[in-house]
Amino acid sequence: MTSRPRRASGPQPGGPQPGGREPDSTAPDSTAPDSAAPDSTGRGGWGLQEVSVWHDDSLALDHVSLVAAAGQVTAVVGGDGAGKTTLLRCLAGAQAPGSGRVSRPEVRRIGYLPASSGLYPDLTVAENLAFRAAAYGLTAAQAREQVAEYLDRAGLTAARDRLVGQLSGGMRQKLGMIAALVHRPDLLVLDEPSTGVDPVSRSDLWWLIARAATGGSAVVFSTSYLDEAERAGLVVALDAGRELATGTPDEIVAAIPGTLRAVRERPSGQDGLRAWRRGGHWRVWDPPGSGPAAGPIAGPAAGPVIRPDLQDAVTVAALARELRLAGSLR
């Protein structure tokens, strides 16, 4: 095996064809470090190419690439410290890359929901939206019209006059997303919109994401929920600043090296090092050439080989990296 799990062939924006408008042909502006769209398919789009970022002495992003195409939803997955926020900040223009190329629309055509939600806690819901709309050059009437449906669908209409500081986490994230959408951006960048948000509010957030993509925005969001990432057209999995895997969810799953087994009891010995809990049972990853079929003790106890999903794939990628660091995997 090479030094990291095989990358899915790509990037191939795997989502359905957008029905919405293409990005504004006048963008990106001259302030973007590079105006060439990195999308090799020639369909146009925004993104990062081989971007690295250093924070003091540590490498926060290590040659990461990402494509954000109009009408497509791209998910960035990874745990705490994986580099998700740094990547999104680069894409949104809130952070300059140390090296590599970024292409994005001009700043007025970007919608950005930072991890901190970017709202004013001492203003009401309506005041926050009016401020944001004014900053993007919309009139108050335009803004009201744009967001009335969104507020209604997100269950925030009754909260219009409440101070944002008093909203629940889920309500605040929904409002943050609406504020980022108010000017119908070409590129919508959302930093963990759903972390800590309950499933009902998460489904509202997903409706807003789908709505933005339907309207032609290129949507890029980060999440630690793999079931959410599975709904995206393109997924970039990060770990410690590096791309673990990139592709459509199907491509990432297909690129898992070796096979997976499902077993009921906690495996012991070598299997135990490559096992993790999933859904009340255990999964065991067999790297290429090491499966039970290769050993003398293969039998029913080894457990059936199963078809992995995206969560399995990302877990295998993280596990493989950990084992290599520990020296127990080539």
Binding site: T214, S224, R277
Partner: protein, 299 residues
């Protein structure tokens, strides 16, 4: 609902428990029990009453009606000693090192003056103040602290929020080890895919229990229509226009609680396939949560 193992009394039991704040009923006639060795998943939207129920179990609130029993007695300092509680905020002191946090906790629980040893994987962080450690490490320290006095009952409030899949798998390994050793566990989560880790689930909405049992029992016969269209955006717009509750799932769209014929009709002459599939726990959860509340199902 599963009863207690023969002869054993539940570690935690709520019988007809209600908790009212003025006119507002936060917890409404809840029956719940947690037995030794089982993991009970408590699910619900924000505001469903999960945290109030946890505060009732911890003895921080007194029920307006009904009865809470821990280890067969009313909640007290003595019962609190046998509980390991992981709050959403983790409950660590940012200005203390991991070792100092564990030592303090051990002193409070009277489980030894020196406190437990840090797990081997965390020893390299022993002398760094908790506030400057990564969140993932803080969470593992909080787990070590919660388990350090060998509690009989674990109450975990969103222990896996924001954790990557491998990290979550390891936290669940710790939780199931504690249950296998005889502890009872009550755990809240917003990750509905973690339901499989739980012996059974209790779903709350508007303060009341709206469903309980295994995921399969709760889903029951619920079905959804799955739409695979040449252009998902066109299909999404058409279904939205028809006022159907549509959700995006990869290349397809899912329409819960709606017969395929109605979905087909709403799509008009669009190039799309409509199939019928069993609902997921998440979809059933929305159905239960939204139908129980007075608010309208979002359209």
């Amino acid at each position: 609902m599963t009863g207690a193992a023969a002869g054993a009394s539940p570690l935690a039991q709520c019988a007809g428990v209600s908790c009212r704040f003025g006119q507002f009923t936060a917890v409404d006639q809840v029956d719940l029990q947690v037995n030794s060795g089982e993991i009970v998943g408590l699910l619900g939207a924000n505001g469903a009453g999960k945290t109030t129920l946890i505060r009732l179990l911890l003895g921080l609130l007194t029920p307006s009606a009904g009865e809470v029993a821990l280890f067969g007695a009313a909640p007290s300092r003595a019962t609190r000693r046998r509980i390991g509680y992981l709050p959403q905020g983790l409950g660590l002191y940012d200005d203390l090192t991991p070792a100092e946090n564990l030592k303090f906790s051990a002193a409070v629980f009277g489980s030894g003056r020196d406190g437990p040893e840090l797990p081997a994987a965390l020893r390299s962080y022993a002398n760094t103040v908790v506030g400057s450690l990564p969140l993932g490490v803080q969470r593992r320290i909080a787990f070590a602290q919660v388990l350090s006095h060998r509690p009989d009952l674990l109450i975990l409030d969103e222990p896996t929020s924001g954790v990557d899949p491998l990290g979550r798998a390891r936290l669940w390994e710790t939780i199931s080890d504690a249950a296998a050793a005889g502890a009872g566990v009550l755990v809240t989560t917003h990750h509905l895919d973690e339901a499989g880790e739980c012996s059974r689930l209790v779903i709350m909405a508007d303060g009341a229990v709206v469903a309980a049992g295994t995921a399969a029992q709760i889903i029951g016969p619920a079905r959804v229509s799955v739409v695979t269209a040449a252009s998902w955006t066109a299909a999404f717009t058409a279904l939205e226009r028809a006022g159907l509750p549509v959700a995006l799932a990869g290349r397809s769209l899912r329409v819960p609680s709606c017969p395929s014929a109605e979905v087909r009709h709403a799509l008009g002459d669009l190039d799309a396939r409509v199939a019928d599939a069993p609902a997921t726990l998440e979809e059933r959860f929305f159905e239960l949560t939204l139908s129980s509340s007075g608010t309208e199902v979002p359209r």
